[in-house]
Amino acid sequence: MGWVTATNLGCGRDNDRFELKAGKLPDISRKDVFDAPYPHFGRLDRYSRLGLSAIAFALKDAGLDRWPHPRPISIIASTVHGCLDTDLHYYDTVIPEDGRLASPNLFAYTLPNSYLGEAAIHFGLTGTCYIINETTISSLWCLRLVMLNMAGGQFETAIGGGCDLGQCPPFSTIGEKPCGALFFVIEKAIKRDCSAYGELLLDKSGMLALNGTKVSTLQTLAQNCIAALSNKKPMI
């Protein structure tokens, strides 16, 4: 797993705590995430940089960040506000001059799933890639859908998680919202030299459990994964 939050950023195995809360997210530079040059990383919108970085950390954590050939890995990601921040910047290029100055570059990122395409290109991911929008970033629907599709034979490896920039006035309700991005790599069967945080199961009622312990949100799953590595008592 990998994440970028107001507290810290990086791979699951490099950190001993995870928290998802409201606050200022770090300004992510290419060097924070990628060893090799990524020519237009700095020109990506904030939402895309956030999501792409967390996906990169998750893939690195799972030993899947290097690839000789494209792989049928899927991504199902949740968000609340999506690319609203980019929408505002783009529409500010439409208003003057009756649209003559509308930015095609910004427009391309006014879809909440554009950064998944960016991740697909950079990491050679050829599976299903889509976004689900919910009222909270920590809902487990993204993981439920990963598990159901996996059981249905759609794919064997997927990245599931969420990405949100948090409050975007005036488009969200009063009060600060948790923000950040958190992704998990989920595999049907690990065929590489890589250890797992544990076994994730979905029951018929839609409940998810890691190593037999129920998980209620994405953040409790992250905390339980860390606890599983250090043999601490899992959070419920």
């Binding site: 095609p104 395409g117 889509y130 689900i132 629907w141 249905g152």
Partner: protein, 384 residues
Amino acid sequence: MESRRTGTINVWVTDAVTVTPFGDNLNALWLAVLAGKSAIRPLRRFAVKSYHASIASYIEDLTAPDDRSMSHALVERLVRRLDPMPPNTILITATTKSGIDNLEKLRRGIPADPADVLYSGFCEDVRRQLKLTGECFNISASCASSTMALAQGAELIASGYTDAVLVCCMDLVTEFVFAGFSALQALAAGPCRPFDRDRDGMSLGEGAAALLLMNSEHARLEGRPHLGTILGWAAANDAAHITAPARDGRGLRQAVLQALDIAGRNADEIAAVCAHGTGTVYNDLMELYAFNRIFDNRRLPIFSIKGSIGHTLGAAGGIEVAIGFRTLSEQTALPTVGFSSPERGAEKKVSMEPQAFSGDCLLTTNSGFGGINAALILGKGSLQ
């Protein structure tokens, strides 16, 4: 060929409604496209003098109530035609920009409800209007949003997770979107001409669709009509470009082959294709290349309805699946309005006339920004 699934639950579609510029029912849309009509006409919703095009297919009398988005009015017109929902129906909405007209208003200092701008606002709107109590979420997958929503709805039912899923999809013609496609030089000056040698871009459209997916056993018990079956579904990413398709159609081909595998069908069993067919140079070339490889250059009817109602973005897949079931029922592939001279590879497959065919399976596909491609295999219903 055996389905990859074991112990398969059949996914029936028991209700399908559409709202398009041709009216608030599927029959009106079917008859209009069958007659070769187009709703693409001069756009009067906002100033277009700065853009590469000045036309679109839009619903003339669609107006925003008070400070709400036009999406609210569209949803109202859509859901009033639906039969009562089964208890605990899961709702999946699909859109690319839902209530983005309210963001435009707010940015221009016009009072508007900001809640409509969030995707969850669309979800909540449908849920409230239909008094649904089950879970809900929205799917965003560019121009394949509703195709993906139908695929995921089918997955939820086939897995036994639930017995009923309502998929509602919509998108509006707004300046936000129009200006963007104009800036990308993707809009045709005249009405779009899918698969035509002289095509020069797409025409935007607006519309909505709602389809009720049910476990076949429960649908039978409730005496629901069988409009058709979703037999197979899959998606794949090109991993090539953010706004352009892979020229070799590799993602589309992968999605179609996987959907066939899930359906337990061979490519030979597909009788017709309802293509994405946007009318852009690269999309149509990519699709023809992929289809000709998948079907080994077999002569089968391929059609696009975007010459009639434009590209309805997140609603395209939903509207096209509703049309797809009617196509199977009538055993008639619709004419591709705007098409006259075939692009290489479209000869004797795409036509400006209706094409009769015989068969039980239809392929429908959509592709979009971010490299996404989604495919559904539809089976004929049992209604006469």
